[in-house]
């Protein structure tokens, strides 16, 4: 159990740019170094973690569960999220406190175009991973139009997309 914490806590600190960045190292640790699971099992858990809601780094919970049951899942999740959250808290608090300095205003203004670039880069990365076909592009376009034109909620959007895809799946 301690081993789980020792594997995931460093990964947490290394997961710069999001959870996906650590997947290769996680696979190496879990499959090769500790032989907690096979390569195929890891791939299955990875697919599952993408299928579940919430952050994809929750794959840590599945690995922990696979190895040591429920408390293993708790330990792995703590290891994966606690260190990075503490760090984010420290940085966020500092960022909050330095309000209204000229430097901070400049940082905020300088970061805005970077954020916009990253947002569009994120969209194209997901599209690549999803092997975008016509249906995927149409869905993305429709959701974008709907959200821009109306105040439709996230829950309604997710519900509608799920129902439409189920209909398409069973009736074509």
């Amino acid at each position: 159990m301690l081993a789980l914490l020792l594997v995931f806590a460093p990964l947490s600190i290394l997961s710069i740019g999001g959870g996906q960045a650590t997947i290769p190292e996680m696979q190496h640790q879990a499959v090769v170094v500790h032989s907690w699971l096979s390569n195929g099992e890891f791939a299955d858990l990875f697919a599952l973690s993408r299928a579940a809601p919430g952050p994809s780094s929750l794959i840590a919970a599945l690995i922990g569960w696979h190895v040591f049951g429920f408390w293993g899942a708790v330990a792995a999740t703590l290891g994966m999220f606690l260190p990075s959250s503490l760090l984010m808290y420290a940085v966020g608090a500092w960022w909050h406190r330095s309000q209204d300095s000229r430097l901070r205003r400049a940082i905020e203004r300088g970061l805005t175009p970077i954020a916009v670039g990253l947002v569009f880069a994120g969209a194209i990365t997901i599209l690549r991973a999803a092997h975008a076909g016509a249906l995927v592009l149409a869905t993305a376009g429709a959701v974008c139009l709907l959200q821009s034109a109306t105040r439709i909620s996230t829950h309604a959007t997710v519900g509608a997309v799920t129902s439409i895809y189920l209909l398409i799946f069973y009736f074509t």
Binding site: S12, S15, I16, G17, G19, D44, A47, L48, S49, R50, A51, P53, P55, L58, A61, L62, W65, F70, S85, L87, M88, Y89, V91, G92, H96, R105, A106, E108, R109, G110, L111, T112, P113, I114, A115, V116, G117, L118, V119, F120, A121, G122, A123, I124, I126, V136, L137, T139, A140, G141, A142, V143, L146, S148, T154, H155, V158, V161, Y165, F169
Partner: protein
Amino acid sequence: MAAEAGSGNETRPEIRPSVGLPRLLAEFVRLGTVTFGGGLQSWIHREIVDRLGWVDEDTFLSGMTVARVVPGANGVNIALYIGFKLRGAAGAAAAVLGMIVPAFCVILCLGYLYRRFGHLPAVHFVLAGLAAAGVGATLTMGIKVGRRLPRDLATSLTAVAVFALVGVLQLPMIPVLLALVPISVGLALLAKR
């Protein structure tokens, strides 16, 4: 929006609605359980900025960029930052727990079902759709935010460069940001003079 200029001691009028802790927790629990297929931050933007107006666009954007540079899942980090902004340390804890605990329970249930019943093709198909919806949400946010950028050459070039290097050429994000952030912030500092 900030029409009345604060002429008192406060330099920046706080136009933040007061959000109770239970309400905050409930909102992030809701977000934590429906946000599939990547693009977590776009769904958070949709609900917290677009629909609820709990934080303004600039606060969200700067927080989002910080959240992406700091290690950890982006969505969890943004939630933490928003929770902190609204309710301090307790708010940060509530937001993080709201994002992780329900999703943790769901993923263990899925793991159990998967062991019992194996893989369902329909589920796989629906997930691809939800990923596509996530792309749509991301585009909405990008367009909305991009419209508010200052109309000057340096700003547009920076945004396009980040998109091209990270999105199209798939270069690792951290080195790109290490190179471009100082330039962009430096330009903003110069422009203020």
